[in-house]
C-alpha cells in the first residue's frame, strides 16, 4: 500500500480530497490519518443540489463541496494553503513544473475523464477529482502522480494531465493547484476536535437552507417518491442509478463517508478526551450500513430483480434521515462546551 519515491510516500485512501490533504500534511511532518483529515475539516455532510446538473441529473453529495477539506484544515493546523488557478493550460503547466522543480508536493483538481490510469468505465466528466503530483520524469515529461484512491503511485503523460486540469463544465478545475504556504503545526486536539464536530452537527441539523443536511435527505426522498415509475421506467431507473453512483463511486462506496467519519470519531475520542465520541462511532457504522442497503435495494430494482418501486426507496431515505437526525443531535450533545 505504501510506495516510496524520492521522499514522497504514496498511501492509498478511501476518498480523493481527504487522501490528498492527509498526504500533504504527512509529507510536511504532521502524521495524520485520512479520517482525521476528513473529520477535522468538518467534511461530512449531505447536499441535494438539483440546480447543478451532471448529464441532466441533480448533484447529490454525501460530503461538503470540493475544496472544503483543503480549506478546512488550515485553521486546526495553523497554516495557509496556497491555491492558484490559471487562464491557460500553458501557464498552469509552467507553474506546476516550477513548483515540482522546487521540490514541492502539489495537489491538483482534475477531471476523471482524461486520466489514462483510471479504468475506462469510471471515466466520466466529473471535474472534482483530486490527486498529487510529486515529481516529473525529466526525459519523457511524464508526471509522477499519487492518486489516493489507487493502490500505487502512477505516471501520467503531460498532455493528459493538462486536459484533465483544464476540463470545462460543472465544477471546472481551471487548473487549480494547491500546496502549503507555510509549515503546518500540530493542532490543539482538545479544542480543534470538538469545534470541528460541532460544525458538522450544525451543518447536518441547522443549515438555514432546506437542501443541506438531514433536510436535504428528506427533500431528495420526496423527489424520489415523485419519480414516474409506471410512466417512464427508464428515466426513473436512470435517476436512482445516478444517486447510487454519486454515493458509490464519487462518495467512496456504501455510505463510505459515514464509515470514514466513524473512524475519525474513534481516533478523536482519546485525543480530545471525550470518550462519548467513540461510543457514537458504532451507531454511525450502522447508519453507513443503512446507506449500503439503500444502494443494494436500488441496484436490484435497476436490474429488475425487484420490482421498480421509488416509494420504497423514498421510505428508506426518510428512515436514514431520521437516524442521522438522532445521531447528530447526540453528537452535538457529546461535544457541548
Amino acid at each position: 500500500m505504501d510506495t516510496a519515491t524520492g521522499g514522497f510516500i504514496h498511501r492509498q485512501a478511501s476518498h480523493c480530497e481527504s487522501g490528498v490533504m492527509s498526504a500533504i500534511l504527512r509529507h510536511h511532518g504532521q502524521p495524520i490519518s485520512e479520517p482525521m483529515a476528513f473529520g477535522l475539516s468538518s467534511a461530512l455532510a449531505f447536499a441535494y443540489l438539483p440546480f447543478i446538473r451532471l448529464s441532466g441529473l441533480p448533484l447529490v453529495s454525501y460530503r461538503m463541496l470540493p475544496k472544503a477539506i483543503i480549506r478546512g484544515l488550515q485553521k486546526p493546523f495553523g497554516f495557509a494553503m496556497r491555491t492558484e488557478t490559471f487562464a491557460s493550460p500553458e501557464k498552469g503547466a509552467a507553474r506546476l513544473n516550477d513548483l515540482l522543480d522546487a521540490g514541492q508536493v502539489v495537489g491538483l483538481q482534475v477531471s476523471v475523464f482524461w486520466l489514462p490510469f483510471i479504468p475506462p468505465d469510471f471515466r466520466f466528466h466529473f471535474n472534482a477529482h483530486n490527486l498529487l503530483a510529486y515529481g516529473r520524469d525529466a526525459l519523457t515529461g511524464d508526471y509522477l502522480v499519487s492518486d489516493p484512491v489507487l493502490e500505487t503511485a502512477v505516471r501520467c503523460p503531460a498532455a493528459d494531465l493538462a486536459r484533465a486540469r483544464f476540463a470545462r463544465g460543472a465544477l471546472a478545475p481551471k487548473g487549480l493547484l494547491y500546496y502549503p504556504a507555510n509549515p503546518p503545526r500540530e493542532p490543539e486536539w482538545k479544542t480543534a476536535i470538538p469545534a470541528a464536530v460541532r460544525k458538522t452537527a450544525r451543518i447536518m441539523l441547522h443549515t438555514p437552507f432546506p437542501l443541506i443536511g438531514v433536510k436535504g435527505m428528506r427533500w431528495l426522498a420526496r423527489a424520489i417518491g415523485r419519480l414516474p415509475a409506471a410512466a417512464d421506467a427508464q428515466a426513473a431507473k436512470r435517476y436512482i442509478g445516478h444517486l447510487v453512483r454519486m454515493q458509490e463511486e464519487i462518495g467512496t462506496g456504501g455510505g463510505g463517508f459515514r464509515f470514514m467519519y466513524a473512524a475519525f470519531l474513534e481516533e478523536a475520542a482519546p485525543l480530545a478526551q471525550r470518550p462519548a465520541l467513540a461510543a457514537l462511532a458504532a451507531e454511525l457504522v450502522d447508519i453507513g450500513d443503512g446507506w449500503r442497503e439503500f444502494a443494494l435495494a436500488a441496484a436490484r430494482m435497476i436490474r429488475d430483480r425487484d420490482p421498480l418501486d421509488p416509494a420504497r426507496l423514498a421510505q428508506r431515505l426518510h428512515a436514514q434521515a431520521a437516524r442521522e437526525q438522532t445521531f447528530f443531535a447526540a453528537l452535538a450533545d457529546a461535544v457541548r462546551k
Binding site: Q12, D121, H125, R163, E249, G253, G254, G288, R300
Partner: protein
C-alpha cells in the same frame, strides 16, 4: 460493516484495481480495507456506461443514413451531451445543437471543426469519419 463483510465479489468495471473502504476489524477498531468491489456498484456504473453506448449507437445509425452528423456520434462516444459539449467547446448550446445536423455540419469551417475535435479529444480528421 465488519472487515469480513467488505465486498470482495469483484467488480469488472474496476479492471482489477482495488478501492479502500473503512470497516470494523476483529479488535473492534475501524481501519482501511481494500475491496475488489461489489455488484451494486458494478450495476450502476454499467448502467451509466450503457446509457451513453446506446446513445452513441443510435447516433451512429442516424449518421450512416445521413440523418445526423458524425459530431453527434463522437460527442456521445466521449460521454458528453450537447450541454457538456457546449461548455467544453465554449460555444452556445443552440449552435452546438444546430451543428449536430448533417447538413449544417457539412458546411462548418475548419476552425469550428478543430474546436469540436479539441473538446472531444480527437483529431479533426477523425471527426469527419464514423470510427
Amino acid at each position: 460493516m465488519n472487515v469480513g463483510e467488505v465486498p470482495q465479489e469483484g467488480n469488472a468495471t474496476h479492471k482489477g484495481q482495488r478501492r479502500g473502504v473503512y470497516a470494523r476489524d476483529v479488535d473492534g477498531r475501524l481501519r482501511l480495507v481494500l475491496s475488489k468491489g461489489w455488484e451494486a456498484e458494478e450495476i450502476v456504473t454499467r448502467q451509466a456506461v450503457e446509457a451513453f453506448e446506446a446513445l452513441a449507437a443510435a447516433a451512429l445509425e442516424r449518421a450512416r443514413l445521413g440523418k445526423s452528423s458524425p459530431l453527434e456520434y463522437h460527442m456521445y462516444r466521449a460521454r458528453m451531451d450537447p450541454v457538456l459539449l457546449a461548455q467544453a467547446s465554449g460555444l452556445w448550446r443552440w449552435r452546438v445543437r444546430r451543428h449536430l445536423k448533417s447538413t449544417v455540419f457539412a458546411g462548418l469551417p475548419p476552425a469550428l471543426r478543430q474546436r469540436y475535435a479539441d473538446a472531444i479529444g480527437i483529431t479533426p480528421a477523425r471527426l469527419e469519419t464514423l470510427d
